[in-house]
C-alpha cells in the first residue's frame, strides 16, 4: 500500500500559550496540488512551516512518505521537501545561479564539492523557470516577479518531490502572478511534483488545486475538492463576508460588497 506523500494528523500548535492551530488533519497523495486558504492569522503559514519542519513545536503527527518528519535528518528531509518563502523584501547580493546552486546543499558530496549532476540540476531548473538570461544577474537587481521565479527555481533545483509555497503571488502584478502560476502548474502537471501552496486568492485556488483546506482561527473549517467551495454560504462562513459565485465556464468568486 502506498502511503500518502503528506499526512498531517491532529496537528495543534501554540505560540506563547496562544493557540495558532487546533486539531488540523489533512492527507495528500503524491502528485496532487493542495491549496490552503483562510483569513489573515488563521494559521496557514504556520501549518506550512510545520510540514517543512521549520516550526518544530507541535503536537499531533506529520509524516512525509509514511515516515514521521522528526525521524528524518535535516538533509534527508531537504531531499524530500523544499520550501519557497515569501521572497518580497529579500534583496540578496548573490547571482541567480549562485543562489540556485545553494539549493543543491543536501546532495553535495564529501567536502561539499559541486558535481556534474548538481550543475545539470541547476541548469534544468533555470530552464524550467525561463531564467537562463538572468543567470548571472544579482537577485537584488531583479523585480518582484523575477525574484519569485528565482526562489521557485531554487526549490526545483533542490530536487524534492514535494514543494511548499508561502503566498507565491502576493505583491505581484497580474502579469507576474500569471507567470508564476503557470510555472507552479507546470511543475505540478508535467514534473509530477506534489504542491502545497498558501494563498489569499480564492480563484487561483479554484483553478490550480485538487484539494482545498480552509483554516479559520486555527481550525480546519473546510477540506475537500474545489467544487465544494461553490455552494452558497460556504465561503461566507470562512471569511465572515458574503460572496457571489459566477458559475460558468470556470467558476469565479467575488466578495459581494467591496471591502470597506
Amino acid at each position: 500500500m502506498n502511503s500518502p506523500a503528506v499526512l498531517v494528523q491532529n496537528l495543534s500548535v501554540s505560540i506563547d500559550s496562544k493557540p495558532i492551530l487546533t486539531d488540523v488533519s489533512v492527507s495528500l497523495e503524491s502528485g496532487r496540488f493542495l491549496t490552503i486558504i483562510g483569513p489573515n492569522g488563521a494559521g496557514k503559514s504556520t501549518l506550512l512551516r510545520c510540514i517543512g519542519r521549520l516550526h518544530k513545536l507541535f503536537s499531533g503527527s506529520i509524516s512525509i512518505a509514511g515516515r514521521p518528519i522528526a525521524d528524518y535528518s535535516r538533509r534527508d528531509l531537504a531531499k524530500c521537501v523544499s520550501y519557497v518563502p515569501q521572497s518580497g523584501d529579500r534583496g540578496l547580493p548573490y547571482t541567480v545561479r549562485e543562489f540556485v546552486m545553494m539549493s543543491r546543499y543536501p546532495h553535495l558530496g564529501s567536502f561539499f564539492t559541486v558535481s556534474r549532476t548538481d550543475r545539470d540540476a541547476v541548469a534544468r531548473a533555470l530552464g524550467e523557470a525561463e531564467l537562463e538570461s538572468f543567470a548571472e544577474r544579482r537577485i537584488d537587481t531583479l523585480s518582484g516577479g523575477e525574484r519569485q521565479k528565482v526562489f521557485i527555481a531554487a526549490a526545483l533545483a533542490q530536487g524534492a518531490p514535494i514543494v511548499l509555497l508561502d503566498e507565491p503571488t502576493t505583491f505581484l502584478d497580474y502579469r507576474q502572478a500569471a507567470g508564476i502560476l503557470d510555472l507552479i502548474r507546470r511543475m505540478n502537471r508535467s514534473s509530477g511534483i506534489t504542491v502545497i501552496s498558501v494563498t489569499h486568492d480564492i480563484n487561483q485556488a479554484l483553478d490550480c488545486s485538487d484539494w482545498i483546506l480552509a483554516l479559520k482561527d486555527g481550525h480546519a473549517v473546510f477540506s475537500g475538492p474545489p467544487a465544494g467551495l461553490l455552494p452558497a454560504g460556504t465561503l461566507d462562513r470562512i471569511f465572515d463576508l458574503p460572496f457571489e459565485v459566477l458559475p460558468t465556464p470556470s467558476p469565479r468568486i467575488f466578495p459581494k460588497r467591496p471591502i470597506p
Binding site: 517543512g52 519542519r53 534527508d76 531531499k79 547580493p93 548573490y94 547571482t95 561539499f112
Partner: protein, 326 residues
Amino acid sequence: MKPRTIAPILLIGLLLLTLLSPFIGSIPIRSTDILSSDPTTPAHTIFWQIRLPRLFLGMCTGIILAVSGMIFQAMFRNPLATPYTLGVSSGASFGAVLFMRAGFELSSGVFSGVTLAAFLGALTSIGLVYSVVRLRGVFSTSRLLLAGVAASFLFSSLIMFIHYTANVQDTFRLMRWLMGSLAMPGYTLVWQLMVVAVVAVTVATLSMRELDLLSTGDDIAESRGVNVERIRHILFFATSLMVGAVVAACGPIGFVGLMVPHICRLLVGPGHVRLAPSVILTGAVFLPVCDLLARTLAAPAEIPVGVITALLGGPFFLWLLVQDRS
C-alpha cells in the same frame, strides 16, 4: 584597470611588504645581522625575538579577526556586524580585565586563564546580543547596532568600575592593553594564537556552504538541509574562542573584521567559497601592514595598532552605514 586585476598585484605587493617588515623600523637591520654567529647582538635580538614574533602575531591575529568578522556578517546577515561593533570584544575585554584585576595567575596548557575569562566574556555578550536581536525575529540594522551599542556601553562601564577600584599602575597597564597592541616579544603568544588561527581557518573552510545559506535566511538554510541550530552553536563557540584569544593576547583591535571582509566582497563577490580564502589571505597581510604603520609613523615612538585600525575603520564604518539602504 579593473579592481580585479589590481587586487592580485596589490596583494602580492602587500605580502612582500609584510615579509620585509621585520627589516623596517626605528633600528635598521641588515641581512648580515640576523645571520651573524653572535646571537647576543642587539640587531639579532630585535629581529628574532621582537620583530619576527610580532609579524607572526599580526598575521595570526589578522586572520582570526577577519574570519570572525566574516562569520558574524553571514550569521547576522548584515555587513556591519562584527565582534567589535556588536560589543563582543567589549564582553571579552571585561572578562579579561576582571580576571587580571582579581590577580589570578592561572594557566592551563596552551591557553592562559585570561584567555578563558575573555572567552567566557565573549560568549556571554554574543548570547546577550543574539537573544535581544532574535526576540522580534528580524535582524534590522538599527536593532542590531543598538543591541551592540548597549552591550558595549554595559561592558565598558563595568570595565570603568574595575579601573576605579584599581591603583594607578594597574589602571595604566589596563588602559594600554585596551588600546590593542601587538608589541609582545617572544613566541608564547604566537603559538597560542597560531592554534586559534588554525581553528579559524578550519571553521571557515568547513562551513563555507553553510555560511552562504545562513546569509540568505534561517528558513531557507534550514529547508535546504542545514542544521541551523547546531551550526550556529558551533560558530558562536568558535568565534567566542577566536575573539577571546585575540583580546586576551593583544587587547581589543577593532574594525579589521569589518574592513577585510568588505574589501574582499567587493573583489570576489559574496559567495563564501571564494570569499573565505581571500579573507584569510587579506587578513594575514592587512594587520601586519597596519602594525608596520603603527611602529614607523611616529618612530621611535609607537602608536598602538588598535588606534591605527580604529582611525581607518571608523570612517569606513560610517561610509558603510551611509551606503546601507535597508
